[in-house]
Amino acid sequence: MSRRNYLIRRVIQAIFSLWVIATILFFLFRLGLPDPTAALITEGLNAEQRAAVRAQFGLEDPLWRQYLLYLWNAVQGDFGLSFANRAPVASVVWERLANTMVLMIPAIVLAYVIGVPLGAWLSWKRGTGTDTGGIALGLMFRSAPPFWTGMIVILVLGVWLSAFPTSGMRTLPYDADGFLDKIFTLDFLHHLILPALVVALFYLGSPLLIMRNTMLEVYGEDFIEMARAKGLPERRILYNHAARNALLPVVTQLAVTIGLAAGGQVAVEGVFSWPGLGREIFRAVGTSDFPLAQASFLVLAAFIITLNLLVDILYTALDPRVTFQ
């Protein structure tokens, strides 16, 4: 199979996956979640008045019609208006996704910037106490639930030492126009440090262990033996030959981690009151805000599927051993 055909097939698969997920979501929500106007009862609306609201939301139409309309609109990128605030869902979702990413990407990059060299170094020190200690440390951070680490960090650095703000993305109120203006401020960085640190610590273990293990595997390969035979210094072998070859699985893992983190750390977002996408989904599902819940979930799914696709393509491009089966 040619590379082009392979790519086309993968893209079709991705679209298929997206459709399946969209369909499951639609029916899961419509059939499983309570009437979105239920909450209006506490505001004193009677059944008739609520029916009017339902009609306004388009929920009085037959299910199949709602489904087709939803698919048709979703294809055009129109996710409708949120039930809760009548704002276009798409803009809300993009903003929340961006909020999540400005936290997750620096955190994960930090984890990899520290984890990868550390892992390489540990592989070098294999079998020593340093190696064992390093592994234990990585596993420890991986074992501590990040929302708990977050609570402890807030308690110590935020509350006791008052060194960092403990919630939100920035000090309110502020004057800013547009998203970029909002995030390129010292105040934002100040807010970012604690949650990013917590997420970074949690993810640190992955690159560390993967790098170390891959390096160990690479050491067994012939070209390293040859380099040694040529009498190159060990340090140079480590960084120039082994590390370069060990990076591929690490990069793959990086993409997977970003995909996971995009919808991931709902609890961390909760602890730090970070207005991310995970919390938005949580809230939307809790209030039966179908358009918002569907859109956030779909965007996430699309994001993850795209990342997976990219990883596959990357793999085929970089690793000659992979064939297009």
């Binding site: 294999r126 596993l139 420890m140 074992s143 929302f147 609570m151 308690l155 293990n213 949580f282």
Partner: protein, 574 residues
């Protein structure tokens, strides 16, 4: 004896693991946690759900800056106090009586009765009179106490006040107003003007020689001792009144439920409803001749008035105060019926302290291990079971079967894990089963992919081909020939997923999606955060997370050793 291939395959990893120090530490820690889960009922010191309450004879003394706790008088609640120049008297639950002569120490006379005592007063001539439940009336003759028979034995008497040297009035929970002649011991029942059985909680002698009794629903009755007539008085509140105090000067204070404080500055003034800065129940009040006033009540609330507004005095106490004792400069608030031992720091009784409603945190942490391990192991088992079989089948049969199975896996890979689990639990309601399913439903995709790729290469190996030629059935080849070879990988995945599942369960519980009334480590953290107290109560925060970390870490330590077994290349040159 030769072991079947299945067991032989399993034995090898175990043997190898025995040589790995890290794995041994992991195993040891994990075993301890498992033991903790199994013997939780034995290890726990308290019922993890029960609210721990304490009763004691609390004494809170007014100091320069704040009110501070003094050593308590016994373990029974103190309900009322009275004093004259010579001595102080305190009465309390289960027949408690405390006595203190001027300048002396508190002593307890021999217990005269087991019933709860609610009121005490001392006559102008120094005679004590105590009333309580079951129509208990104790009158002092010289130094001795004598019980007086009441006409109605079932009355719960709550208030008592001397009118003169030989006449006293008592009020009760059934709207009783009784007049006692101390000489004859005779009791006269006086009709209350309402007569609906509303409790009259307290009575005091007013400056004009009448008595004022206060009770629930804003009930105030003026009793004229001359002719035993009664008259309803309207105060500017219809709250439940708990106590009335009238000073020599005629200044008076009525306190009651919901921060009710009503003040009369002098005998001719109107009753004024004070704006209390708190809404909890006030139980006792005191007003001095100089116009300062104090009111005490539930949950350690002490209000002070010095002209102007009522102020909350800092007390740092949870105790419920029911009486005030004033002698010269000494000012005591007395209590306390059962109060919740909330947010207690770690102590000998509560090793990890208590939470916001007084539940023992050590016991909760011990029980928390059960859910963590149960969810961890069952979910991991389920994941590996599904994943391994799908991987085996897909890898072995290939073709259409593989296509369908692996496309399903592809779709699953597009679903964001954590939000999906959240949605499932939100949709189907939190129960242990749903939580396990929510964790397992997506996670098996990884195992399926891993196993499949191994099977793909294994099925081409000579021993499999040989078995096929020998006519072995598909099932036999898959499970007897191929499966043992992927076993190290299966164990590895089992360990990793157990760890991940424990964290996932903790996360769900932390988000409030744990099974109701079940105790889990994540749930404890959820409570801590929900209550808002976690910023100070470190003893609430730290242990559950540490337990999760230790447990997951122990599993990961084991997994690392399994990894070396599953992938022998990692052993190179070690």
């Amino acid at each position: 004896m030769t072991l079947p291939p299945f067991l032989r395959a399993a034995a090898k990893p175990l043997r190898l693991m025995g040589q790995d120090r890290m794995a041994m530490i992991g195993l040891a820690v994990l075993s301890l946690v498992i033991l903790m889960a199994l013997f939780a009922p034995l290890l726990a010191t308290h019922d993890p759900h029960s609210v721990n309450e304490i009763e004691e004879g609390s004494v809170l003394e007014r100091g320069e800056a704040r009110w501070t706790l003094r050593p308590s008088l016994g373990e029974l609640a103190l309900n009322d106090a009275a004093s004259d120049a010579a001595r102080d008297l305190i009465v309390g639950r289960d027949g408690t009586i405390w006595h203190r002569p001027e300048g002396g120490d508190w002593t307890q006379p021999e217990r005269l009765t087991e019933v709860d005592l609610h009121g005490v007063d001392i006559s102008p001539e120094g005679r004590g009179l105590i009333v309580g439940a079951e129509s208990t009336i104790l009158l002092q003759n010289g130094g001795d106490w004598a019980a007086i028979d009441a006409p109605d034995p079932g009355a719960e008497l709550r208030g008592v006040a001397w009118y003169d040297a030989q006449t006293a009035f008592m009020t009760g929970a059934g709207e009783q107003i009784w007049r006692l002649d101390a000489e004859t011991g005779e009791i006269t029942q006086i009709e209350s003007p309402v007569g609906r059985g509303f409790p009259l909680n307290s009575v005091a002698r007013d400056h004009d020689g009448t008595l004022l009794a206060v009770g629930e629903r804003g009930l105030v009755v003026r009793i004229d001792p001359q002719d035993d007539s009664t008259e309803l008085v309207r105060l500017p509140s219809s709250r439940d009144f708990n106590h009335i105090y009238i000073a020599e000067s005629g200044a008076a204070l009525v306190v009651g439920e919901r921060g009710t404080v009503l003040r009369r500055d002098d005998p001719d003034a109107d009753w004024e409803s004070g704006q209390a800065p708190d809404t909890r129940a006030m139980r006792a009040g005191w007003i001095g001749d100089d116009g300062t006033a104090i009111a005490v009540g539930r949950s350690g609330i002490v209000l002070e008035w010095n002209g102007g507004d009522w102020q909350v005095a800092p007390t740092e106490s949870e105790r419920h105060f029911r009486a005030i004792l004033v002698r010269g400069d000494e000012m005591l608030a007395l209590g306390s019926d059962n109060f919740v031992d909330r947010l207690a720091r770690p102590s000998a009784d509560h090793w990890f302290g208590t939470d916001h409603i007084g539940r023992d945190l050590y016991s909760q942490n011990v029980y928390g291990s059960q859910i963590a391990l149960m969810v961890g192991f069952i979910a991991a088992g389920l994941v590996v079971l599904i994943g391994t079989n799908v991987g085996l089948i897909a890898g072995y049969f290939r073709g259409r079967t593989e296509s369908v199975l692996m496309r399903t896996v592809d779709v699953l890979y597009g679903i964001p894990t954590e939000p999906f689990a959240l949605i499932l639990v939100l949709l189907f309601g939190p129960s242990l089963l749903i939580i396990i399913l929510a964790i397992a439903l997506l996670t098996w995709r990884t195992v399926a992919r891993l196993i499949r790729s191994q099977v793909l290469s294994l099925r081409e190996r000579p021993f499999v081909k040989a078995a096929r030629v020998a006519g072995a059935s598909h099932l036999r080849i898959m499970y007897l020939h191929i499966f043992p070879n992927v076993l190290p990988l299966v164990f590895l995945e089992l360990a990793i997923i157990t760890g991940a599942a424990i964290i996932a369960e903790a996360t769900l519980s932390f988000l409030g999606l744990g099974a109701p009334q079940s105790i889990s480590w994540g749930g404890i953290l959820h409570d801590a955060r929900l209550s808002g107290a976690w910023r100070t109560a470190w003893w609430w925060n730290l242990p559950p997370g540490a337990f999760i970390m230790l447990t997951v870490m122990s599993v990961f330590f084991i997994s690392r050793s399994l990894e070396v077994i599953a992938n022998p290349r990692l052993r190179a040159r070690e």
